[in-house]
Symmetry: D2
Subunit: 285 residues, 4 copies
C-alpha cells in the first residue's frame, strides 16, 4: 500500500454513457495502468454512478498535477464529484473513547501491526481511565471531560485540539453524543460503532433491550455519524447468535467481539477509500 | 420420534429448590428413563424455571394416566404449569398462505420427506393461485377470500373450518393480519414468518425499507402471532449478507431462502415441544 | 435479464497495461454503454487478468457480428481468450440426480419461479424414484440405470441423449462418478454439489466422517466436476453450526439445507457468466 | 462465578436407567440446589452418558467432603468417572506463544477484563519478541529457545518450570510441535489453535494451501493437543468468507480475527468445565 506510484480515483456523478471509457482513456493517455476498478450504478437510466479506480503511474508524485488537470476535463464534461488520493498518503486519525477499552485497544493493536494504514493523531476521552493502556502504544491521550453542563466547552476544546489536523475521527465506543455543530466544524468524516443491529435498538442500552425483546441474534453497526443520532449511512454490520440462556451482561460480552471486528473493517475500508456516500447509504467497493 | 413409549414433560413454574430432584424421582418411581433433559432459570432467586424432559417408559400408552397422576402431585407442590405429550402423537397443522409459494412448498416438501412430524389438516389461502401446486401433495386447499370488507366473514369461515381440529397454525407468508378475536378463538398457537430481522422493519414492505436504509444484512423472524402485530415472542431468526449492489427485488429473492429455513426450524422445534413461552420471549430447548 | 440489447463480455489474458482502456474504447466506439464491469488480476506484474463487462447496445442482435469483429482486434492485440454472450440467450441445462430429491426439486422450483434463467432440457437419473415429482414441472425424465457393469453403456446412452444439446450439466446429488471420457465428450461444463466443506471429507459418506471427527461446522461445496474426483475448481461453499447432539442422520438433514442453497447460487452465477476459470480455482464476479 | 458455594459436577459413564434421578436425589439429600444441568447420551441403549450439573450449597467449602463422599456412592453404583470443581477455584494457566501476538494478547486482554476466570502462571515463548508486549500485563515471560537440536532440552526446561504448577496449557499460535512425552508429563490438558478448518489443511501453511485450493471460506479450529498432530478432539471452529480477491497474506489477516475468537471461546468453555472428552470428540455443554 505504500507504493508512492499508486493512486485511487473516486468518482460519483449522474449515470450516463461513456464514463468508464472516458476515464480509462484519460488514464491510458498519461501512461497509467489500472490495477483495480469497481463501479456501481443505482440505475442505468437516470441513476447515480459511483466508481473507484486504483492505478499505477511511474513517477506519480511529480505527475499528479498533470493527471489531475486531465481528469478535471473529464470530470467537467460528466458533472463528476471526484478526488484523487495517493495510496502512500496515510490518513490522520483521532480515536474517541470513554471507559470501554475493547474497540480502542483493538484499533491501536491493528495500527501497531500495520493492519490499518493510518497516522495516529491522538486518543480523546471524556474519562481518564484508559490512559495507562494507551500509553504503551506511544499515542497522546487527551482527557477532555464532558458533562451535560460542560459539553459545549468540551467540544470547543476538542475542536481546538483537532480541527484541521486530521482526516478521520473514529468513535470507539465514545458514549457522548457529538453536536451537529461539532460534526460540521471538525471537517472530517466521523465513524461510529453502535452496539446493535441498526435500525433495531437505536438509542441507548441496546443489549438490555435486545434481551427484553428476546432476539436470537445480536449485532453491531459501524456508520458515519450525522446529526441524526444512529441514523447515519451504514458502512458495515455483523451479528452473533444468542439464546435465552444469555443475560444482558453476556450479550454485551458477546457483542464486544462483534463491535471491534465491525469497527475495524469499517475503518480499514474507509482508509482504503472504499466507502462512498450515496445519499443516506454507502457504496462499499 | 414415533416410539409410542416416549413422552415429553414440559414444565414452567417459579424457580425453587428441588424441582429436578422431585421430577426425576417421580419418573424413576414409575420406572421411566430420562433420555433428555434441559432446563432454564431466569434467576435462581425469585426467577422463573422452565424444563423439558424426554423420557422412555415401557407400555406408556396404558400407563400415561398413572404417570400424569403422579406428576400432578409434584406439580401441585411446586405450583407448576405443565403438560405431557407423546412423541408419537402428531400435531395437526393448518398452513395459511397468500401468493408467495416458497415457505408453503418448503413446509409441504419437508412434511412429505418426514422432516416435520405433523398431520397436515389443510392449506388455507386468500388467493386461488397456489392450488395446483398444493394438489400433488394430497392436501386439501381452501380458498377463503379476504378483503377489508369481508375479513370478519372470512375469519368466521376459517374458524368454522378449523376450530377444534388443529394444534397449530402456520402463517407461511400469509399477507393478511389476523384479528385478536381470531387468535383467541382458534385455540391453537399461530406461528408467523416476518421477512425482516425484527424489531427492525416491523410492518409492511421490509425489503424496500431495508434497501432504503442501506443495511448490510437482511433477515427473517419466526414468531408466535399475537394481537400486537410483529410483536409476538420470537422463536428463531437468521440473516444473510447483502450489499449496495442488491435491488429491493434481489433482497426479496435472497430473503426467501432465509425465510423458509427460519420458518421450518421454528415449526420443527414447536412440533418437538422445544419452544416454551416466557412472557414476551421464548425459551428454545 | 431478458433485455435483448444486453451482452456480457468475458475475458482472460496475461495482465498488461491498457486492457480496460482498450476494451472500453472499443465498446464506446460502437456506441455501447457499460452497465457493469468487474476485473481481477492475480498479479499486476506477470499475472493473469480476468474481466466481465456487461453492456447495453441498441439493436444488439443485428450488430453483434460488428461488435465481435471489433473486439477480436483488441483480443488479438492482448492475447485474450474471450467470449460474448447475450443476456437474453438462456443456457440449456440438464439435471442429473439419483434418489435424493432436495437439490433437484429446489432447482426446478427456482427455475419455475424465474430465479434461474435457463432452459430445462431434461432430468437424467440412474433411478426411477423421482419421476413422479419431476412430472408436474413438465420436464422430461430419463431413467438411465447405471451399475459398475453397465456404466460404460449408461454414459454412452446419456451422451447420445444430450451431446450437443446443452450448455450445462448440473449434478444435483447424482451419486455416480462420471468418467473423464464422459466429461470430455459432453462438451459442456458440469457443476457438482459435494456434501462437505471440501477439501475436508472428500469422497463418500462425508456426514458420517464429519460426525466421527467431531467437527463443529458442516458444509457443502459446489464445484466444476473434473476427472479428479472432488478436486475441481470450487465455485461456492457454505457451512452450518452443529454440535455433539447431532447424529450423522441429523447432520445430513441440516446439510440438505446448505447443499441446495450452495448449489443454487453456483448455478445462478454460472448462468450469469459470473464464474471464470483460473487454473484450478475460480474467479466469481 | 466467584460464589464460593457453587460447584460443578462432571460425570461420564455408560448410559443406563436412573442416573439423573440418583444424582439429583443425592444432591437434594445434602440440601444442594441444582442451578443448571446438561446431559448427553450417545445412545440410550449401550451408549455413553455425559453430564454437567451446577449446584448451589450453603457453606459448600466446609461440606465439600461430605458431598463428595455421598456422590462417590452413586458414582460407584453407576461406574461413573466424575469430578467436582468449585466455581470459585480458578484454574492455573500457562500461555505458549511464538512470534504472532494476536491470540496471546487477546487472551491476556480478556483475562485482565475478567472475561476469563483463570490465574495466569506465565507466558512461555521460543522467541524473545513478545516480552515487551506481555510486560504491561504483569505476567512472567519465559524465553525458552527451541530448535530441532535443542527441543528435548527445551521441553525439559519447560517441564521443570511448569509441571505440577498448572491446570491448563494454551498454545496461542505456538509454532513448535510438542512431543508426546511432554504432553504426558505436563499432566494438564493442552488447548491448541490451528489456523484452518480442520480436518482441511492440517499441517503447516494452511492459508497458503487454502489460497491454492481456492476455497471460499477459511476457518480456525481450537482442539486439545494430542501426540497425533492436528488430530486431537475439536472444541470449537468458526469460518469467514473469502474470495479470489484475497492473497494468502490477506487470508492470514482475516484468519487472525477468527483464530483469536475461536481460541478464546474454547478456553472459556474449558475454564467453566463445559468441555467433556468423548473419545476423539468433545461434548460442549
Amino acid at each position: 500500500m505504500s507504493d508512492p506510484n499508486v493512486a485511487r480515483l473516486i468518482v460519483s456523478c449522474p449515470d450516463q454513457h461513456g464514463i468508464i471509457a472516458a476515464l480509462s482513456a484519460c488514464l491510458a493517455g498519461v501512461g497509467a495502468n489500472i490495477i483495480n476498478s469497481a463501479q456501481h450504478s443505482t440505475d442505468p437510466e437516470g441513476g447515480s454512478f459511483f466508481l473507484r479506480m486504483e492505478f499505477h503511474l511511474a513517477d506519480l508524485p511529480h505527475r499528479r498535477a498533470l493527471v489531475e488537470s486531465r481528469l478535471a476535463l473529464v470530470a467537467d464534461a460528466f458533472g463528476m464529484e471526484w478526488r484523487l488520493t495517493l495510496a502512500s498518503t496515510r490518513k490522520r486519525v483521532a480515536l474517541f473513547a470513554s471507559r470501554h477499552d475493547h474497540c480502542l485497544l483493538d484499533l491501536l493493536w491493528r495500527w501497531r501491526r500495520d493492519e490499518l494504514a493510518m497516522d495516529m493523531v491522538c486518543v480523546v476521552s471524556n474519562h481518564p481511565d484508559l490512559e495507562s493502556e494507551v500509553h504503551p502504544f506511544g499515542v497522546a491521550y487527551h482527557h477532555v471531560p464532558s458533562t451535560p453542563e460542560t459539553k459545549v466547552v468540551a467540544e470547543k476544546n476538542a475542536l481546538e485540539l483537532l480541527a484541521g489536523k486530521l482526516d478521520l475521527v473514529v468513535l470507539a465506543r465514545y458514549m457522548q453524543v457529538l453536536s451537529g455543530d461539532f460534526l460540521r466544524r471538525i471537517e472530517a468524516p466521523v465513524i461510529n460503532i453502535h452496539h446493535s443491529f441498526l435500525p433495531a435498538f437505536a438509542g441507548p442500552n441496546p443489549y438490555a433491550r435486545a434481551h427484553e425483546r428476546g432476539v436470537k441474534l445480536i449485532g453491531a453497526t459501524a456508520h458515519y455519524a450525522t446529526a441524526d443520532l444512529d441514523d447515519g449511512p451504514i458502512i458495515e454490520q455483523d451479528v452473533a447468535r444468542v439464546s435465552h440462556r444469555h443475560t444482558p451482561q453476556e450479550l454485551a460480552l458477546i457483542g464486544r467481539d462483534i463491535e471491534r471486528v465491525v469497527l475495524a473493517r469499517a475503518v480499514r475500508w474507509h482508509l482504503d477509500d472504499r466507502v462512498l456516500l450515496a445519499g443516506s447509504r454507502t457504496v462499499v467497493f
